[in-house]
């Protein structure tokens, strides 16, 4: 009993120590980022690098999908929404009704890869074929030059920006209802590397040697130059939406300046994504100018 008591007191002391060491920073220096799973690794790396010079800012980055982040921004729960798709006009309307004006920044560029099992003989598809496969018009690999196997579709859930981007730009129609809806991008990679008849779509940052990225319209997403120049057809901007115009020299403003600076963009590249284009940079400059 006595020993138990000592142990208890010790553990309470220890917890107290770690808590005071961590030190709760002032509330205004807390930043909550939420949204895209595609961008999760990138923003976690950016936050870590940023904290090296801004130790007083406490940043939490969580995923859940672009739709999740945008909904949280509209509901006023977070400071910045990470999104791999632009906000829809009706979403911006809803935010404004709640007194929140989302301000758009483009932090990086991403290529979207269509992946299959390495043993799949199909190595190349056209954009139209990809669309027909995902809308359910083509259901067997032999129709696109592969084995006589039924195609198993893997995709993200409707909370995902990648789900919406892929549907709106490639399919321009609803997904086949037989598509398995996976929890995240890694789940798609895992499923496709285990399923010889599978097909999936993932950001190029998530490509592994265990899956094969298909060549689309003559270009392969593993060719960084082709993705950067836009020769590869599935490239997209990756966004962040701030909760209103950031306060001058506030944590959001500082984080944004860092992310768009040369060292910030280096971090973007190190996580497998591409730097913003000069057009993106110009758009970002305009938004930053609003801060003053």
């Amino acid at each position: 009993m006595k020993r138990l008591l000592v142990a208890l007191i010790l553990s309470v002391l220890l917890i107290g120590c770690t808590a005071s060491q961590g030190g709760a920073p002032a509330a205004s220096n807390k930043l909550q980022l939420k949204g895209s799973d595609t961008e999760l690794q990138m923003f976690a790396a950016l936050a870590e690098e940023f904290k090296k010079t801004n130790a007083d800012v406490d940043i939490t980055v969580t995923g859940g999908g672009s739709g999740t982040g945008i909904a949280a921004l509209i509901n006023g729960e977070i400071d910045i929404a990470d999104s791999s798709r632009p906000m829809k006009p009706e979403e911006i309307e809803k935010a404004k009704v709640n007194g929140i004006e989302p301000v758009e920044f483009i932090i990086a560029r991403d290529g979207l890869a269509v992946i299959v099992h390495p043993d799949n003989p199909v190595g190349e598809l056209t954009r139209a074929q990809v669309a027909d496969i995902y809308t359910g018009k083509i259901t067997n690999w032999k129709d696109v030059g592969g084995n006589d196997d039924a195609i198993t579709l893997y995709g993200r859930q409707s909370t995902s920006g990648t789900y919406v981007y892929f549907r709106d730009t490639v399919l321009k129609a609803d997904y086949a209802s037989t598509m398995r809806n996976m929890e995240g991008t890694s789940a798609i990679v895992d499923a496709v590397q285990a399923d010889k008849t599978g097909i999936g779509y993932v950001g190029i940052g998530y490509l592994t040697p265990e899956v094969k990225a298909l060549t689309l319209e003559g270009q392969n997403p593993t060719d960084k130059a082709a993705v950067a120049s836009g020769a590869y057809v599935l490239t997209r901007p990756l966004f962040q939406y701030t909760k209103g115009v950031p306060a001058k020299n506030g944590p959001t403003h500082k984080l944004m300046l860092f992310q768009l600076s040369a060292p910030g963009q280096k971090v973007v590249e190190s996580t497998g994504f591409l730097q913003v284009t000069s057009a993106d940079a110009a758009a970002n400059e305009k938004q930053l100018a609003r801060i003053g």
């Binding site: 909904a71 399919l171 209802s177 285990a194």
Partner: protein, 291 residues
């Protein structure tokens, strides 16, 4: 002020009433949030076959495909768990030596304390490849894998309750049977089982209520496709999984938000109905045995 008998009684009464209030509160909360959905969605649409509220073309609000997904998983899970649970209960109450029972019963009940996300991981990494190779599929994300893991989850409920039911059979019944020259097996089959039937039914219903509500483990292995399921080897998207997936992206107060609450209401009514049924049957059963 002196604490009298009366104060104590009021205190305990308040505690009792609290759970009723919580129940009514949750029901009211669901109802208020759900009811707005039906300003935009007709009942006919709500009970349609296709669910796709974020469609590229036009939102569709039919929950039948998801409901069938839920029922498919639950039915298959019970088909596995009920016999297993009953045999376990029979063994524990009638055949096991006291020492074996002392170890086995807590062990069975401990299954209930495994977090369901852990069971989901086991299902994803072990069961799903197993199901795939057994049935010659390219992947094991389907209703059957989900049913298997749900069966594991409801097993303790059914086993433990049926053990209680079998133990409640008065000793006089058993002794009477044996005295008439019946074998142990004959007593089990002709005396104990028949006098426990309604209790077994109640245990099954309680297991069913648990199975309907299971979410995370199911979500991890069911495949979650929106297509109307045609068999156990098809991917399904049970109601619980659908709510868990979509509640994250909905804007508070939108039609989609309200529709998910309406779906929650449907789930609530289903589990409530089965639990009430189980409770009624169980009460009658115990009274009859006691008499």
């Amino acid at each position: 002020m002196k604490i009298s008998e009366k104060h104590i009684r009021i205190f305990f009464q308040a505690n009792g009433i609290l759970s009723v209030l919580v129940l009514a509160g949750i029901f009211g909360f669901l109802l208020i949030n759900a009811i707005g959905a039906f300003q935009t969605i007709t009942l006919g649409e709500f009970f349609g076959t296709t669910w796709n509220p974020t469609s590229y073309v036009q939102p569709q609000w039919g929950i039948l495909g998801l409901l069938v997904g839920t029922l498919l998983v639950v039915a298959a899970a019970l088909l596995i768990a009920v016999p297993l649970g009953l045999f376990t209960g029979l063994y524990l109450s009638n055949l096991a030596s006291p020492r074996v029972r002392e170890v086995l019963k807590p062990a069975v009940e401990l299954i209930a304390s495994i977090p369901s996300v852990v069971l989901g991981l086991v299902a994803l990494l072990v069961l799903s490849p197993l199901v795939a190779s057994l049935f010659g599929l390219t992947n094991g994300l389907n209703a059957l894998t989900a049913a298997l893991i749900v069966a594991v989850m409801v097993l303790p409920t059914i086993a433990s309750l049926s053990e209680d039911v079998f133990s409640a059979v008065p000793d006089a019944y058993r002794q009477g049977g044996l005295a008439l020259g019946a074998t142990r097996w004959q007593v089990l089959r002709r005396v104990i089982l028949p006098s426990s039937l309604s209790g077994i039914f109640a245990a099954t219903m309680l297991g069913l209520g648990r199975a309907v509500g299971e979410t995370i483990a199911v979500l991890m292995v069911a495949g979650n496709a929106l297509a109307f399921p045609h068999g156990l080897l098809d991917p399904v998207r049970p109601l619980t999984a659908n709510i868990a997936i979509e509640i994250k992206e909905v804007v508070t107060g939108s039609t989609h938000y309200q529709a998910l609450f309406a779906m929650g209401l449907v789930l609530f009514i289903i589990t409530m109905a089965f639990n009430v049924l189980a409770e009624l049957v169980l009460q009658r059963h115990m009274k009859r045995l006691g008499a």
